[in-house]
């Protein structure tokens, strides 16, 4: 007896069953094949895998027979030599063979089947997804807390702990939309407007920059005009006030931010017409007519007109009353514009075109919005010369605007029966010789000639209304209005495609008392209300009116329309 093979198995009850089998001979073959002395049924082994030989010198030699090696004390080998006294451990596939010496001197080979590396299958969890994916509960907590941390914890902590010049961090995700162009620099500075947590934006926040914005009207009258509103409005305000919303009449009622980059759209017409549509009801003493929509309900225009000649004061009168203007001048547009009239004949004879046009005298202001006042020296004197004498090559002319000087000049003038010079020019244009032509009555005596000059048909009285001031001759001061619509915006520049006479009936006006402003219906031929039908121009309140009242173009007007 040389070898003793001891197999250790575990019974179903967990008890170890040890069996010994003695083998004669000096060699033990190891393999999967059943005819091996040490039969190890493992598919990972060769049918004849190795031999274990007791050599002459008492050492145990282990040799791999097939192409595979074996484990020896944890290392993969093809040959191994083991002293039985010291012992060693061999590994063949899933079997462990401990080599040692038994008490009677036999070489003891203890065979133990190592538990299968594969985990026993648990059918309940094996088919389910649990374990293959992160748990639902864990994921829920993780995601929920991450969202709360990043989108609530960080910004609120930063907001509460920040030192004032620093901005709040982490609140970029709170913005409901980009700010308008004008407020773009406030992007990422939420706290500039949202000053106190849980408090709606106050007017003070707006006014800290918009210092010059003023109220539309006296607050008390505004409140009265606003009235109580509809049931829905009152309910809304009740709820809004419960949540501490300011208003009605707060900046944020009309001006909404975070509505997208670009210009802030002007408040809708409804914000105006809520009050102005039925203003008379809320404010019975108002002088303003109800205005709900330019196309449907709008009072007739009330331009500021000089009603009393010489006072310089402008009085607002409705065009419906057909007011007469008292500018202090006598002037017929028809006479000057008539293509077959004297003025036209003059320009034709001089080869200066077919006649006078509006632009011959009316020059636009630099911004194109309105017109410059008529300047006598430039616009009239080309034809209506004030020259009254010629000494050599020099003309003597009356000084425009100075009645006393005129009287003095005429008192020493030589009697003249002939025109000083022939040949007229268009206004503003002078002949090479600088010629003028005066069509004044022949001077006859100092006072008398001045009286003649100032009389109707005289050189002054032809255009001016004579007056007596403190016993002295004078003329009524002329009032030229540069802006008739004092509370509404109108720009000529935006109406370039129109002719002058399509709005101003100047070619039919024979007296300067005619108010040549177009009325409401004239404007309505192109402009309709906010929702204009096809072919008309949508014209909300903000096209002409400014809530915060400035002399400039309304804030709400698009830039291209301001020109």
């Amino acid at each position: 007896m040389t070898f003793r093979v001891r197999t250790v198995e575990t019974s179903a009850q967990g008890r170890e069953i040890v069996r010994n089998r003695d083998l004669a001979g000096k060699q033990v073959s190891v393999g999967r094949s059943a005819d091996n002395a040490l039969h190890l049924p493992d598919l990972a082994l060769d049918p004849y895998h190795a031999t274990i030989t007791l050599s002459e010198d008492g050492q145990i030699a282990v040799e791999a027979v097939g192409s595979l090696g074996f484990g020896h004390d944890g290392r993969q080998r093809r040959h191994a030599s083991i002293a039985p006294q010291t012992g060693g451990e061999l590994r063949f596939g899933s079997y462990r063979v401990a080599v040692s010496q038994d008490g009677d001197g036999a070489v003891l080979l203890t065979v133990i089947k190592v538990a299968d590396a594969d985990e026993p299958i648990d059918e309940a969890t094996g088919f389910a997804l649990a374990g293959k994916l992160p748990g639902k509960r864990a994921m829920s907590w993780l995601l929920g807390l991450a969202v709360l941390l990043f989108f609530l914890g960080v910004p609120i902590t930063s907001s509460l702990l920040r030192a004032p010049p620093n901005s709040v961090t982490g609140d970029a995700a709170w913005t409901p939309g980009p700010l308008s162009l004008a407020h773009h620099q406030l992007e990422a500075k939420c706290e500039a407007c949202h000053i106190k947590p849980f408090e709606a934006v106050r007017d003070e926040a707006c006014l800290s920059c918009h210092k010059s914005s003023h109220d539309h009207a006296v607050p008390a009258r505004l409140a009265k005009a606003r009235g109580f509103g509809s049931l829905g409005d009152r309910l809304q305000w009740r709820v809004a006030h419960q949540f501490g919303k300011p208003g009605p009449g707060a900046c944020s009622d009309c001006h909404n931010e975070h509505e997208g980059a670009g210009r802030m759209p002007p408040p809708a017409q409804a914000f105006c017409t809520d009050c102005h549509g039925s203003l008379k009801a809320g404010l019975p003493d108002t002088r303003l007519g109800n205005a709900a929509d330019f196309g449907r309900l709008h009072p007739q225009f009330r331009p500021g007109l000089p009603l009393a000649a010489g006072s310089g004061a402008l009085t607002r009168v409705s065009l419906a009353k057909h007011p007469r203007e008292a500018s202090g001048l006598t002037f017929s547009h028809k006479l000057h514009l008539d293509p077959r009239g004297g003025a036209a004949r003059m320009t034709q004879r001089l080869g200066q075109g077919s006649g006078l046009a509006c632009a011959s005298c009316h020059r636009p202001t630099a911004d194109g919005v309105r017109f410059l006042p008529i300047d006598m020296e430039r616009d009239c004197e080309g034809c209506h010369s004030l020259a009254y004498d010629k000494v050599g090559g020099t003309f003597r002319k009356l000084r425009h605007g100075d009645v006393d000087q005129m009287i003095a000049d005429l008192s020493v003038a030589r009697p003249a029966s002939q025109p000083v010079i022939n040949g007229r020019q268009r206004p503003g244009e002078f002949a090479d010789s600088g010629g003028y032509f005066a069509r004044f009555s022949r001077p006859a005596g100092s006072v008398g000639s001045a009286a003649q000059a100032l009389s109707r048909g005289g050189i002054c009285g032809e255009c001016h209304t004579p007056a007596q001031a403190g016993g002295r001759f004078s003329v009524v001061p002329v009032t030229q209005v540069s802006r008739f619509m004092q509370h509404g915006w109108f720009t000529h520049a935006a109406h370039k495609q129109e002719t002058c006479t399509s709005c101003h009936a100047a070619d039919r006006s024979i007296t300067s008392a005619d108010v040549l402003l177009p009325d409401l219906n004239s404007c309505r031929s192109c402009h309709f209300g906010e929702n204009a039908p096809r072919g008309k121009i949508s014209s909300g309140c903000a096209m002409c009116h400014d809530y915060h009242g400035s002399a400039m173009a309304p804030q709400g007007l698009e830039p291209r329309r301001k020109q």
């Binding site: 059943a34 299958i121 829920s140 913005t175």
Partner: protein, 288 residues
Amino acid sequence: MSLVQRQTSRQLDIDHEGFLRHRRFLWLKRAGALCLVAIVAYALADVQPRPSGGTWLGYALGTIGTGLIVWLALLGVRKRNMSRGGWSLKAWTSAHVYLGLALIVIATLHTGFQFGWNVHTLAYALMMLVIASGVFGIVVYATLPAAISTNREEMTQSQMIEAIAAVDRQLESAAQLLDRRWAEPVAAALHEDALAVGIWRRLSASQPGGATLDAITAINRASAEESGNPALVRLEALLQRRQAQLARMRRHMRMKALIEVWLYVHVPATFALLAALVAHIISVFYYW
């Protein structure tokens, strides 16, 4: 109504109506009416400057939406506590499905179609994710149970595993007679575990190759004289049985995964949504 009638009607109820058809689509009708009211209000309300969450209608829709979301999320609590009748879990589930779908309309109108990269749209997106995963869940619940049943052929899950194990034991003993050239692929096939695959392989419709299929292929390539070996013939038959069983298990796992996987989105996304909703509401009033 007599007790008998009530019992009969309840019996019918239980026998023939799923949560989708519960009480002749009662909750579908109610949810539809809610959507209709919201759409009409949105169309008629003249809010300035334009529809958004910050108008009176926006706040109203937002409040309704928040209430719905919280109530819908409570199904997770409710389902752990069964009861019968009008407030049965089935009625509750039916309402959960249809009111959840109505939320698409309510919440979208609440946004006024204003979206951006912010916490508000995050809440909306998470809500839509929850709804989409829920719709997926309804679809698989409606279609897959029949397919699973067909595939199983009245085998239980443990029977499927036992069937594989039985084939494996026979394979192991059959392969003992053969040399390493055949034993190796068989040993590899025995280690192929149908259940030890990740989520993507489980959800994938294609049947992957594997050690079992490789072993079959190797045997098919055997030379003419080898293939006459009866041990090899038996081995191939066993491997084919193993492969068929694996395919059944894989189909079973795929359908089971589909029927389970949506909840792994639905539930965590719901909690993320609740958190985003809290952040949305608080942030709106914090910077009011």
